[in-house]
């Protein structure tokens, strides 16, 4: 029933306070139950759902716009110097807080660094944090969730309780506590932290999806034919459980980027010489009255990026969910 939406939506919040159902109501019904290929044999990849979805997406303007924005972001993350000639670390205090001027369209921040250059270079860090954290969360979450869902029993109970433990701890609080001791100035601690507190979200989704997929006739049949555990999971169950995970992960990606900014605002996020939107937004927030441009450009870039990922996730979900067509 509606729980799947709940999980998906909840994931966006990046709060770790997830759904509450581990009872008689079947989880992950909406997406997970879709048997994928109607009559598609176990040897055949579940093409129809995906090709259907793809046909749908190609015609969805929301998808096209967000995909273009994301492509652009990825490109400037890889080659920021293509559109920004200066260095984000070159700062001249005598120009502090000055507004837009020729060669410096976004003006200067409180340290006299060029806001345009820093905003362009900030994309790399923010996108890297988002993508790597999502990757980590997805891998860890799906593996654990799938194991719990597939084997059930004690595995499942233990994992469900661990998941609850992580959900019970507010994310911002955990970030303050864990990251305040970190002195490393790379992006890894922040990524590690997000993975540590983010995996239960995906693991719940994956668990539910695997439980549903496991009950399908063709899986039962494959099992009866003596297929090994790994073959069952990889060939028969995973292809059907992957859709809900992808949807949630895409949406979560946007929120992880926003979470990095919030952590930086509280002083425990990324550290210089990393250049990130979160660092710049938090540095500019006290100067909101005198130099609003230094706050608005990185905030705008952040908002557009998060928006793009959430809209992409939305579009993908709509495409994968035939009920709403």
């Amino acid at each position: 029933m509606p729980n799947q939406y709940h999980e998906a939506e909840r994931a966006i919040a990046g709060t770790g306070m997830g759904g509450t159902m581990d009872l008689g109501v079947d989880e992950a019904e909406t997406l997970g139950k879709r048997p994928g290929p109607d009559g598609g044999g176990p040897q055949e990849p579940p093409r129809s759902l995906w090709s259907d979805a793809w046909r749908d997406l190609r015609r969805n303007p929301v998808f096209i716009v967000s995909a273009l924005v994301i492509c652009f972001l990825v490109l400037i993350s890889l080659w920021p110097s293509a559109i920004a000639s200066g260095s984000p670390l070159t700062c001249d205090l005598s120009k502090a807080q000055q507004g837009s001027q020729s060669g410096h369209p976004f003006g200067f921040d409180g340290q006299g660094c060029d806001v345009y250059t820093r905003t362009v270079y900030g994309a790399r860090t923010s996108v890297a944090v988002g993508v790597l954290a999502t990757l980590g969360v997805t891998v860890l979450g799906s593996v654990l969730g799938a194991l719990a869902g597939f084997f059930g029993g004690v595995w499942d109970s233990v994992l469900s309780r661990i998941t609850d433990v992580f959900f019970a701890i507010p994310v911002v609080l955990g970030g303050l506590v864990l990251l305040s001791v970190i002195t490393s100035n790379t992006i890894w601690p922040v990524i590690g932290f997000i993975v540590l507190l983010g995996w239960p979200q995906i693991s719940r989704i994956a668990r539910g999806a695997v439980i549903t997929a496991k009950q399908n006739d063709y899986v039962q049949a494959a099992r009866a034919l003596g297929a090994s555990h790994s073959r069952l999971v990889l060939r028969h169950i995973a292809p059907n459980a992957v859709a809900p995970v992808i949807v949630v992960a895409t949406i979560a990606l946007g929120t992880y980027i926003a979470l990095e900014a919030t952590l930086s605002y509280l002083g425990v996020g990324l550290k210089p010489p990393s250049v990130s939107w979160g660092i710049d937004i938090s540095a500019a927030s006290p100067y909101i009255r005198n130099a609003p441009h230094a706050l608005l450009w990185p905030s705008g870039a952040l908002a557009i990026t998060v928006l793009a990922f959430i809209m992409l996730g939305d579009a993908v979900r709509d495409a994968l969910d035939p009920k709403l067509r």
Binding site: P2, E9, M17, R161, V172, L173, V177, Y265
Partner: protein, 307 residues
């Protein structure tokens, strides 16, 4: 039903122990809190040793945890570094945060559900697209940017409201902070209601009700809304815990002396007792809220029976 509640209560025990142990370990990882107590100088070793002993920091972590939990069950949450009992801190902080949370939830329910119903019934129309886009923007802009902007515009530039909240924190002063705190959740509630309404609108029971010739508002309120609210209730239930513990940013911006403020101070001063104490209560709130939501499920949806 009774057996179900008992089972759930039993399940809470390991979660409660796990969560408090986790936060206990996390706070302990932060290192030596005593060094920060003596200002810009080294504490003299004798005093430092005594302080460590007084706060029980000279024992191994597991023993500290056991002692602490033992005390908690007798109602003793320990003492903060400034000599104040943590329970006393709680008695001033929780009422403020509960008020803030109530306002936030009110916003979520009233505005979120209304917008959700309106857009859900008019899927694809301009009003739907507009609201949808707006919710996306609200979700995308970090709370602290929204909060600072609103505080500057409404509080300072236009002078409509007090930019900060006084120590009594009455309801009227908490309206803007409540809205800021609720903003992201509000956007989710809107989207959730919208999806749910749109989905249920095509269900058989709604078609039946319409075919019976029931008035439109009756169909919407009695049949459609009641069934569509189930995921929303779940969300809001889970949100209570999040709002209470996640108000760190909002409480900081508006100078509200609630739970988020105490937690933030506790973390800055590495005050194990304060942080663990507050988190313990928050974990309990979270667990109970979840249980209540699951029970509400049965009330809202007669198809669900707990055994």
């Amino acid at each position: 039903m009774g057996r179900y509640v008992v089972r759930r209560l039993l399940q809470m025990i390991p979660v409660f122990i796990g969560a408090t142990l986790l936060i206990f370990l996390m706070v302990n990882v932060m290192g030596d809190p005593i060094a920060g107590l003596c200002g810009e100088r080294r504490c003299d070793p004798a005093t430092a040793a005594r302080l460590e002993h007084e706060f029980g920091l000279d024992e191994p972590v597991w023993q500290q945890y056991l002692t602490y939990m033992g005390n908690v069950f007798t109602g003793d949450f320990g003492t903060a570094f400034n000599g104040q009992e943590v329970t006393e801190l709680m008695s001033t902080a929780f009422p403020v945060t509960i008020r803030l949370t109530l306002i936030a939830i009110l916003f979520e329910v009233v505005i979120g559900v209304t917008l959700g119903v309106v857009t859900g019934l008019r899927r694809g129309r301009p009003v739907d697209t507009g609201v949808l886009l707006f919710t996306l923007v609200v979700i995308s802009v970090p709370t602290f940017v929204t909060g600072l902007l609103l505080q500057l515009l409404l509080g300072v530039k236009w002078g409509w409201i007090r930019p900060s909240v006084s120590s009594e924190a009455p309801f009227d002063e908490l309206i803007l902070p409540g809205l800021v705190l609720a903003s992201v959740s509000l956007a989710y509630v809107t989207r959730l209601t919208r999806t749910s309404i749109a989905e249920n609108r095509r269900s058989d029971y709604v078609r039946t009700a319409v075919a019976k010739g029931l008035p439109r508002h009756r169909v919407v309120v009695r049949h459609l809304l009641r069934n569509s609210l189930i995921p929303v209730v779940t969300f809001i239930g889970a949100d209570i815990g999040f709002l209470m513990g996640g108000a760190i940013v909002t409480e900081r911006i508006f100078n509200i002396h609630g739970v988020g403020y105490q937690l933030y101070q506790g973390i800055l001063r590495q005050n194990t007792q304060t942080v663990v104490g507050f988190v313990t209560v928050l974990v309990l709130v979270f667990l109970v809220a979840n249980l209540v939501v699951d029970l509400l499920y049965a009330v809202l949806d007669p198809r669900i029976r707990y055994a």
